[in-house]
């Protein structure tokens, strides 16, 4: 535990750790303020097709919808912010030379790498929770409460309603799922960090994989559709399913399992690499 707290202390002593939180706060505040100012236009675009046949009442553009919208929009932003720390946490020791001091100490490499990985997960969880807290709290203040309407394309095109009373727990589960998804990105960046001796490589490498996988998985061609189930990015949006009606538990379990295997697998590779690595620098 001592090692873990030291890693936490080191990570949160660096100002660059706070860039991520600052960036998220800025994006969320800007987005929500603009959405509030453009509420009528947004409502029109949202409901235009339905309003041909339905009269729609109630607080449609509420804090929960805005939260879901923001979460859905940050496909690459959140992963990038996660790689800033995850991709740096091991490689920065090599860059600065402190890896020598670290590995000459009594604690085994296994304990050291475990402490670093737990710190990475702690940061990832903190970042996603921070996103959630700021989205929800500011969203509820600006837009109020209400039922959540979600638009789904898969497996069928449909609109799902989540009653207001159920939304908080669903959102909590959705954010837990988002943390789980981001753990894969963190694990990938962490692995690259153990392989590299600088931080730029792991960050770029991780983002390249995330972006390429995401794009390839969404190409509307048969060949890419067959690849899609093998790409972890396909399962990363499973948090949305907690906002579906009814909740597809089986699909969620499958996605969670796939992502979990990825995280564990990537960590185990990093673990093995770090334990066997010769420190020549």
């Amino acid at each position: 535990m001592k090692l873990f707290w030291f890693e936490i202390y080191k990570t949160f002593s660096r100002w660059r750790t706070y860039i991520s939180f600052g960036f998220i706060a800025l994006i969320v505040i800007l987005t929500e303020v603009v959405m509030k100012l453009s509420a009528n236009e947004i409502l029109y675009r949202m409901l235009r097709s339905l309003e041909k046949d339905f009269l729609i009442f109630g607080n449609v553009l509420n804090g929960w919808f805005v939260t879901a919208f923001i979460m859905n929009s940050l496909h690459f932003h959140i992963p990038f912010l996660i790689t800033l720390v995850a991709g740096d946490i091991v490689s920065s020791e090599a860059t600065s030379g402190t890896v020598r001091f670290l590995l000459m100490r009594p604690p085994s490499r296994s304990r050291i790498i475990m402490a670093k990985y737990l710190t990475t997960l702690f940061y990832t969880t903190g970042l996603v929770i921070f996103l959630g807290l700021i989205c929800v709290s500011l969203g509820l203040i600006l837009f109020g409460n209400g039922d959540l309407i979600m638009n789904y394309q898969v497996p069928t095109i449909r609109i799902a309603f989540v009653p207001e009373a159920d939304v908080p727990i669903r959102m909590l589960l959705a954010f837990a799922a988002a943390v789980w998804s981001m753990t894969v990105v963190a694990s990938l960046a962490f692995l690259f960090s153990t392989l590299a001796e600088n931080s730029i490589g792991p960050i770029i490498g991780t983002m390249a994989i995330v972006i390429v996988f995401f794009v390839v998985g969404n190409f509307p061609f048969d060949f890419f559709r067959t690849l899609s189930p093998y790409l972890f990015t396909t399962y990363m949006i499973f948090w949305q399913r907690f906002l579906d009606n009814p909740i597809p538990w089986q699909e969620i379990a499958k996605s969670a399992a796939v992502l979990g295997f990825h995280s564990v697998g990537l960590f185990l590779i990093a673990f093995a690499v770090f334990n066997r690595k010769d420190i020549k620098s």
Binding site: K2, L3, F6, Y9, K10, S13, R14, W15, S96, G97, T98, R100, F101, L102, L103, M104, R105, P106, P107, S108, R276, D278, I279, K280
Partner: protein
């Protein structure tokens, strides 16, 4: 595994490391005794740093074993390393943390360290007034001193230093040299160090080993090793020509040159007194008789493979 006599603190047996097809260290067998200031010498690329890194578990040996305090390092890593401290190349710290914070983190990884202990270590190296400043504001020499402070903090029994005076000015080198002597003398620490500065090594070391192209060339006490070699002497004599003529006749003396009333010869150290008697017995006045006995000479000789051992 046989148990070492207590006075052997560090022992390597057949220690080897291969990088690709190249043997960086091959079959290294050295022994460091308790209380030694043991120097590890070799030209650039000889394998010194590789050997030290294996001892400090930064590199995995390809073959061989390392015993510290009589225990196999691989099997008892944690308990062994808690009694060891190392500085490899230049000491690096977390620049965004203060000296105090760095000591706390690095020290606490070995054992619980109290505030007064950290302040005391900083005081010993003259950094107490800078304890709470970020290390990024420190000069190279200050970082070196901080490195020694963190070495002292955990009260290790064995201190391993790889090129500890690299990048230091003469004052810094002197400080490090004095500190090394003090560590051995006052704190009864065993010091294992590698250095290129042979004059420095000669001044502090009690034992040494020489490595060349990954292989051990020789090891022993400094005086033993230097005494084994034929020494060069400079003798102030009069009359010079007569002395030269006499010396040329002695088969156990190698005449080298004459310079400013001195004759330069090479003889075995144990026979210096004999030469002195012979000269005096032949009515040659001997005003001075002193050896050119330096570690540098020895080092250059053994690493070129011209040793008479």
């Amino acid at each position: 595994m046989e148990h070492l006599p207590p006075e052997i603190v560090l022992r390597t047996k057949g220690l080897s490391k291969k990088f690709g097809k190249r043997w960086a260290v091959k079959d290294l067998n050295i022994e460091v005794h308790r209380g030694d200031v043991f120097s590890f010498l070799g030209p650039n690329g000889a394998g010194k740093s590789t050997a030290i890194r294996m001892i400090l578990t930064l590199l995995r040996p390809t073959a061989g074993s390392i015993e510290i305090f009589g225990k196999d390092l691989q099997k008892n890593r944690s308990s062994v390393l808690s009694r060891v401290c190392g500085i490899v190349e230049k000491p690096d710290f977390y620049l965004y943390l203060s000296a105090y914070e760095n000591l706390k983190i690095l020290g606490s990884m070995t054992r619980s360290v109290r505030r007064h202990e950290m302040m005391e270590s900083l005081d010993v190296v003259g950094l107490k007034s800078r304890a709470f400043e970020k290390v990024r504001t420190f000069s190279h020499g200050m970082k070196q001193r901080l490195g020694i402070a963190q070495a002292l903090l955990t009260k290790p029994e064995l201190v391993i230093l790889d090129e500890p005076t690299t990048g230091l000015d003469p004052q810094g080198m002197k400080e490090v040299r004095e500190l090394i002597k003090r560590l051995g003398r006052e704190r009864e620490m065993t010091i294992f160090l590698s250095s290129h500065l042979l004059s420095e090594v000669e001044l502090v070391s009690t034992r040494m080993a020489v490595i060349n192209q990954g292989e051990l060339v020789t090891q022993g006490t400094v005086s033993e090793l230097l005494d084994r070699e034929a020494m060069e002497y400079s003798i102030e004599v009069s009359p010079l020509e007569l002395a030269v003529e006499l010396i040329r006749k002695l088969s156990w003396v190698e005449f080298l040159s004459t310079e400013n009333g001195h004759v330069e010869v090479r003889i075995q150290p144990g026979r210096a007194a004999e030469l002195n008697r012979v000269l005096i017995a032949n009515d040659i006045e001997v005003s001075s008789f002193y050896p050119h006995r330096t570690l540098e000479d020895f080092f250059l000789k053994v690493t070129k493979g011209t040793s008479e051992i």
